[in-house]
Each structure stands twice: as C-alpha cells, then as structure tokens.
C-alpha cells in the first residue's frame, strides 16, 4: 500500500530529478555530480533515497562478486595478460565508482545498510588481495577497523559464501594479505 509519506518522498525524489529531465533533450543530466552529492551526504537517509542507496550497495556487492570470480579464475589459470586487463578496469572502477559509494560514514552505522556496507568492504579488500595490492588491503583493514570499532561480533560474509564475526573476518583478511 502506498502511504502518504511514500508519495511525498516520491514527489521529492521526482522534484530532484526534474531539472535533469528538462535538459535531457540537449544532453545527459549530470548524474556524476548527483551521485557524488549523495555520497558526501553524511546524514542518515531514509525512505526512497535509502532504498536507492541499498540498491546501489547491493548491486555493487554483486558486481564485485562477479569481478572476484573472474579474477580468481584468471589467477588460477596464471593468465597474466587477462589479469592485467581486468586489473586496469578494476583499478578505475574501485577508484572512482566504488570509492564514491563507500565514502559516506553514515552507511557503516545505519542498521539497514551497515551489513551490506561491511560485506562490500571485505569483498573489495579480497579483490585487492587477489590483485596483490597489499597496501590497499591494509588500508581497507584500517578503514573497517575504524568504522566498525566495537562491533567485532557483527556477522559479515567473508570469504564469499561464508558468514563469520567481523573481528574473525578481519583476522582472516590480515592473513590473506600476505598469502594471496
């Protein structure tokens, strides 16, 4: 059932994109700036905007799983040329899109998205490990420690397909940093 509150939020969301639609005939709306404006927002979101963020995080997590599966298979086959090509892509993907998506502090503590946020960070760190970016793995570990301080018992998915407490997963990630 659509509530008045939902309708109001939809109206707000629509109002937010109307300026972009208006200029659609002459070019693309500036979605990058819209996106980065969202990601620097520090206040917890709610309603449609939160749903959108959850969707973005979920999609990014699923996408990273696909990247990880592909990278893992190429590393297994010792296909250095293919690894280098995908590495270049992932470097850009993580450096621009994912970094912006993971930047806000609030989503690491918002009850509706913090698990997704943590899972995504672990998966990203795992990919860094596969790509042998040990410094970036360490940065991810430090970032997770800071963001989830005191929540070491929270269950996260790491490695892929397995659930364990965040503290234990962090320890595994530390070991993984040098063993990949």
């Amino acid at each position: 059932m659509t509530t008045n509150r939902t309708l109001a939020l939809r109206a707000l969301a629509f109002a937010a994109i109307v300026p972009f639609l208006a200029c659609a005939g002459s070019g693309n709306p500036d979605f990058e700036s819209m996106e980065s404006a969202n990601t620097v927002e520090e206040a917890p979101l709610g309603g449609e905007a939160l749903a959108q963020r959850r969707m973005d995080l979920d999609r990014a997590w699923r996408d990273l799983m696909h990247f990880e599966a592909t990278m893992e298979s190429m590393v297994d086959r010792r296909d250095g040329r293919s690894v280098a090509l995908l590495d270049g892509f992932l470097d850009e993907y993580m450096g621009t899109h994912l970094a912006a998506l993971l930047r806000p502090q609030w989503q690491s503590s918002h009850p509706e998205v913090m698990a997704l946020d943590a899972n995504l960070r672990f998966l990203q760190a795992e990919l860094f490990a596969q790509m042998r970016y040990t410094r970036r793995v360490q940065e991810s570990i430090d970032d997770i420690e800071n963001r989830f301080l005191g929540r070491e018992n929270m269950l996260v998915e790491y490695p892929r397909g397995e659930q364990r407490p965040l503290g234990e997963a962090l320890q595994m990630l530390r070991d993984r940093k040098w063993s990949s």
């Binding site: 994109i17 639609l21 070019g27 979605f31 298979s73 297994d76 090509l85 270049g88 899109h97």
Partner: protein, 686 residues
C-alpha cells in the same frame, strides 16, 4: 553466421522503434516527416540486427525519408565544410551512419570512416551517448582487425564510461516509471546497451572468429546475466533478448564444462557444439553425404581449436566428452549405412583416457586446481562420469563397426576382428583399473554393463566371429573375458554356453563348472539381488528366475551345455527316464514274485514257482541270479529315481530361464536404467 536471437531482435526492434520514435519525436511527428537524425539517435535499438535485416531496414528508412544513407553522410560532410564546423550530435550521427553502412555491407572501409569520425569523442568526459558509440565502434574495428586486447579494452571501457554511471539514474527513473520517457535521454537506452554488449561479446566476437583473449570479459558476461539482460521485458521482450543464450553460456562458464572459468574457451566450445549439432542434423537427414562430411570436419576442427585452448583437465574433459560422442556417432552411422568414407576426427580415445587418469589422480585432493574451483566437487564428479560414458560409448560403437565390417569382408575378417578386440581390451583394462568398489562417485553405473559388452565382444571376436587361427593365448583371454562378462552381467543366458564353447576350444570343457560355479553362487546368494526382488525393482522377475536357477548345479550345467533348442530334447529325456523306471519296476516286481512264490510253495532248497512250472528252488543258481538281478535293479531304480527327481526339479527352472525376458536390450539403450546400479553392487559383492 546469423543467430536466431539476432533475427528475433531485428523483428522486435521494429515495434520498439515505432514506440520510441513516436515518443521521442513529437515535433517531427507534427511535421509529418521522419529524418535520418531520428533513426540514427535510436540506432542502438536495431544496430545488432544481422546484415541482411539491417540492409532492408536502412533501405526502408531511406525510402521513407527520401534520402539514401550515404547521401545523408555526404550532406553532413558538405555542411560541415561549408559552415566550418558542426554540432557534436551531427558528428555522432554521421559516425553511427557509417557504422550502420559497415554492419549492413560488411565493407571495412565504412568502419574505418566511422572510427575516424567518432574519434572526436575520445575524451573521457564526453557525453555518455557519445562514449557509448565511441567504444562500440572501436570494438567493432578491433574485431575486424582481430585485436583481442583492443576489443576487451573497449568493451570494458564502455562498461566503465556508460553503464556504471547510468545504472543508478536508470533505476531512479524506473522507480518513477520514467525510464522510457522521451525526456529521459540516453539513460533509457540502458536495456539496449546491455543487450548490445551481450551480443557484441558473445555472438559478434565469434562471428568474427575472435578465439583468443576474451577471458576478462567473463566479468562483463556475469554482470550482464545478473538482472540486466532480459530484465526489462517492457522494453525488450524476453523472447527477443539473448537472455537464454547468455544463461547457457553462464552455465557452461561455471559448470562442469568450463575450462577454469575461461570465457574464450566456453565460446569456442559452444561454437563447436553448434557445428556438431549441424553435422548431426545432416547425418540424420542426408547420411554421410559430402556436405555432411564437410560439416563433420568443420565441427572436429572447431573441437580441435577448443582443445588447443583448454588449459585445465576440466576443459579437456569437456572437449573429449563431446568429441567422443561425435566419433561414436560417425562409427554408428558408418555401420548403419554400410559406407566407409574417409572422415578424420583428430582425437583419440587414448587422449580421453589420459584426461580421465589425471582427473582420477586428483580425487583425494587437488581436484579444485584442475579447473573445478568455481564449479565445485559435484562438477568434478559429473565431468569424470560424463567422460567415462563417452569413452565407453565411443569404444563400443567403433568396435561394433569393425565387427560388422569383418562380417562383410571375409578377406580382412581376422584383421578387423582383432581391431575390435583391441578396442574392447583397452576399455576393459581402463575398467579393471578404475572401477573399484569405492569408485561409486567417479565411475558411472553403466560402466559395468559396458564392461560386459566389451568382455563379451572380446570373447566373441575370437570364438564366435571366427578369427582365423586364434592363438592359445587369445583363446585363454577369451575365456577370461567371458568370465568377466558373466561377473558383470550374469543375466545373459547365451553367455554361459559361450564360456563352454571357449573352453572346448582349449579342450577344457570339463572346467566349466569350476569356473562358472563361483559366479553362479554370487548371484544365487546375493543380498543385493534378494533385496532388489523383495522391493520388486525393475526386471525382478528375470533376476529372480536366474537367481533361483543358478542356485541349482544341474541348471547351471544345462546353462553351460544346453541351448534353448535342446530344451524339448531334455524334457523328452525325462519322459524316457520315467518310462525306463516304469519298465524296471515291472521287471523287478516280476522277479520278486518268482522268488516269493517259491518260498511259499516249497521251503526246500529247490522249490517250484507259483505256477508250478517256473517256481525257483531256493539255493539254486536260478534263485541266486534272481537275487542278484533284484539287487542290481534296485540300485538302478534308485539311481533313476534320483535322476528323475533332479531333472524334474531342474528342467522347469531351466525352462523359466530360457523363457525369461531379456534385460540386455533395455540396458543397452538406457544408460540410466536402475538395473545398472544393481549390476555394480553385484559385481563387487562377488
């Protein structure tokens, strides 16, 4: 090569185009005149159509607009020169027009022009729509030039520059039901972008013969399959989408037929299987015609490319599994059609046996490293069993072919029969090596019946097919193979006398019972067979009949030394015995009467018989003769009684065995038949 999904998309595109053009161009609609600008702005809808359809479409648009596409291109260039410049949208449209000219004619010159035109959008900060066409056009040129690195880079670039930034806005617009609004700009093209990238990576790349270096695109293919391609049926009907094809590729990429997740291998093997399907269709419709043989060679060659690409035993097993099926089909067709054209398949069963050996050696650890890390242990097992089944089928089909040729060509009979025997022997040594009691997971149940077929085939090659002058060692091996065949499938009545025949060839027919009894005892005392019968499993009646029959030594002798046509003779012999028993009884009764009559009338030493004249006196030579005859007759009668009792018990059992329903034809045609499981258990019970 034209694929069905592309044809379907072409058809669907027409209707979608109409809707989009109507929505987008209200101004033009008011003016009542469509322009190339309208069609080119929405070229992402139809650009994946095959060249013929695209040509028809462009001709139709040209007729509608009143201006051929090349004239449009020429005019934009003239305008640019006249004005000293042009808007970026005009440049983009010209590049698209040149790409469409290339796609419809396959003339590379148009593609070069398109690349030159689109180069102005090399800047990463160009609009999404411009970047889409920039990468799309460059990807086509990479395919035309056979540059896998450039192709991969442009597909990944397209994803990064277009898909990644547009997905979130597309979802926002979709939530507001505005994703297909006329004012939503290139965002609304996203479902087509997914579709086109999928077609470019999976279909077009193969059409252009790109068979190396596509592995990084496995990531893109996985992304496309995850709620992207086919996820917008309101925009692209599912039946017009490549979703099914994509899902099949993903299943191969992540299943037992994967080469450790290599997309290149998956696509090449997929193309090979398509060629195989075509050749199979031709084989069915035209037999081994020149066209069929050419098609078989093309498929074999494609499998050859796949095996060259395979880097893991997983991938090698996938290729061998399919190519052995093709080999089996070719041999079966040669035998069925009675022709023997020269068809080369550049693979051997030995290669497949080696791959199976590698897979088997990794069973206690290390299997994941053979290319199964993603697909998992079940895929590893499935791969092993699948490969085994094809090894056994290819072996049996090719051996059958040699035996049938041996019958047709008496001059080469011995040579051809020995060829068949060698094939059987190879399978049997594979079977004896790997089909151990604990190999349930690695060896299919049907392997045991196949072992029976191979072992029987080996024995028959030297005993029944009449190899000229088989050596003693060959006959001895034939005896051993028949024993193995009986262990693997004891429910073939004709196999037992075959063993006797082989033994006779070595003058050892008397050994039959000693060799056959342990096998018969295994069947008659089998707990698995008893349980099978108690549960009324398939074939229970036949199995119960054999079980009962083989429990009787006389029946076993009948099975070894009698055949079905001799059954009536055996039954007549029982009647003869009964008749002899009757006669003997009468005779003994008479003798006893003479002896008894003498005792009653004259207890003296030489009494007369009851009639007076023939009474025999006790103590005379005559009385002693009668006593001796009575004693001998009694022994004979006892022997006869035993013989009659035994035959009266055994003959109905033997008759039941002879008349029981044959199980072999069903098992031969159904490799998943439940009885195969019983055969495995029986084999290891012995």
């Amino acid at each position: 090569m034209t694929s069905d999904p592309i044809r379907i998309l072409g058809l669907a595109a027409a209707s979608v185009m109409a809707v989009l053009l109507f929505a987008a161009g209200s101004a033009q609609a008011n003016a009542g005149q469509a322009t190339w600008d309208d069609y080119l702005d929405f070229a992402y809808v139809f650009s994946s159509a095959d060249s013929e359809q695209l040509m028809d479409r462009l001709d139709g648009y040209a007729a509608e607009i009143g201006l051929p596409l090349d004239a449009y291109v020429k005019r934009t260039i003239e305008d640019r020169e006249a004005k000293g410049g042009e808007e970026s949208s005009v440049t983009r449209r010209r590049a698209i027009a040149q790409l469409l000219q290339y796609l419809s004619t396959r003339e590379p010159g148009y593609l070069d022009k398109s690349v030159d035109t689109i180069e102005v959008f090399a800047d990463e900060n160009s609009r999404h729509e411009d970047r889409y066409w920039y990468h799309y056009i460059h990807a086509h040129r990479a395919l035309e030039r056979g540059s896998d690195t450039d192709f991969v880079q442009h597909v990944l670039g397209l994803w990064m520059d277009v898909v990644v930034p547009l997905e979130s806005p597309f979802e926002t617009l979709q939530a507001l039901s505005l994703s297909q609004s006329a004012n939503s700009g290139f965002v609304s093209a996203l479902p087509y972008v997914f579709e086109n990238v999928a077609r470019l990576s999976l279909l077009r790349s193969q059409e252009m013969g790109m068979s190396v270096g596509l592995d990084p695109l496995a990531a893109v293919v996985r992304l496309l399959a995850d709620q992207r391609v086919g996820a917008h049926p309101d925009v692209i009907p599912v039946e017009a989408s490549v979703r099914d094809y994509l899902e099949r590729i993903i299943a191969r990429l992540e299943g037992p037929e994967s080469d450790g997740g290599s997309l290149t291998f998956t696509l090449v093997l997929f193309e090979a299987t398509k060629l195989h399907d075509e050749s199979r269709g031709l084989l069915a419709s035209e037999g081994l015609s020149d066209k069929t043989i050419a098609s078989i060679r093309a498929a074999s060659s494609a499998y050859g490319r796949a095996i060259d690409l395979a880097e893991t035993p997983s991938g090698q097993a996938a290729v061998y599994t399919r190519v052995l099926r093709q080999m089996g089909e070719v041999f079966a067709a040669k035998q069925r059609l009675g022709v023997d054209p020269d068809v080369e398949v550049p693979f051997t069963i030995e290669g497949a046996l080696q791959v199976y050996g590698m897979l088997h050696d990794a069973r206690d650890g290390g299997w994941a490293k053979l290319g199964f890390r993603t697909s998992g242990y079940e895929s590893y097992l499935e791969s092993m069993r699948g490969l085994w089944e094809e090894i056994q089928e290819a072996t049996l089909n090719s051996a059958d072919y040699y035996l049938s040729r041996a019958l047709e060509d008496p001059a080469r009979s011995s040579e051809l029969t020995r060829n068949a025997a060698r094939l059987y022997a190879r399978y049997l040594s594979h079977f004896e090596r790997y089909a151990t009691a604990d190999a349930t997971d690695y060896v299919p149940d049907s392997a045991y019946f196949a072992a029976y077929e191979a072992a029987r085939g080996y024995g028959d090659a030297f005993v029944a097919y009449g190899v000229a002058n088989p050596g003693p060692a060959e006959i001895q091996l034939a005896v051993e193979r028949y024993q193995l065949a009986l262990r693997a499938f004891p429910f073939d009545r004709t196999l037992w006398p075959a063993l006797t025949t082989a033994l006779e060839r070595r003058g050892r027919a008397n050994d039959f019972l000693a060799l056959a009894r342990p096998i018969a005892e295994t069947v008659s005392g089998s707990r698995h067979a008893a349980s099978w019968i108690a549960q009324n499993g398939p074939g229970s009646r036949t199995i119960a009949t054999f079980r009962k029959g083989l429990g009787d030594e006389l029946v076993l002798m009948y099975m070894g030394f009698a055949d079905a046509s001799g059954l009536a003779e055996l039954e007549k012999s029982l009647d003869d015995l009964k008749q002899r028993r009757g006669q003997l009884r009468t005779k003994l009764d008479q003798l006893a009467s003479r002896r008894d009559a003498n005792k009653r009338s004259n207890p003296g030493p030489a009494a007369m018989g009851p009639g007076g004249d023939d009474a025999v006196r006790f103590g005379t030579a005559e009385s002693r003769r009668i006593a001796r005859e009575l004693e001998d007759g009694g022994r004979q009668l006892s022997k006869l009684e035993k013989q009659i009792a035994a035959r009266a018990r055994a003959l109905p059992l033997f008759r039941a065995v002879v008349e029981s329903e044959e199980l072999a034809p069903e098992l031969r045609s159904q490799r998943q038949h439940p009885i195969h499981t019983l055969l495995r258990r029986l084999y290891h019970e012995g």
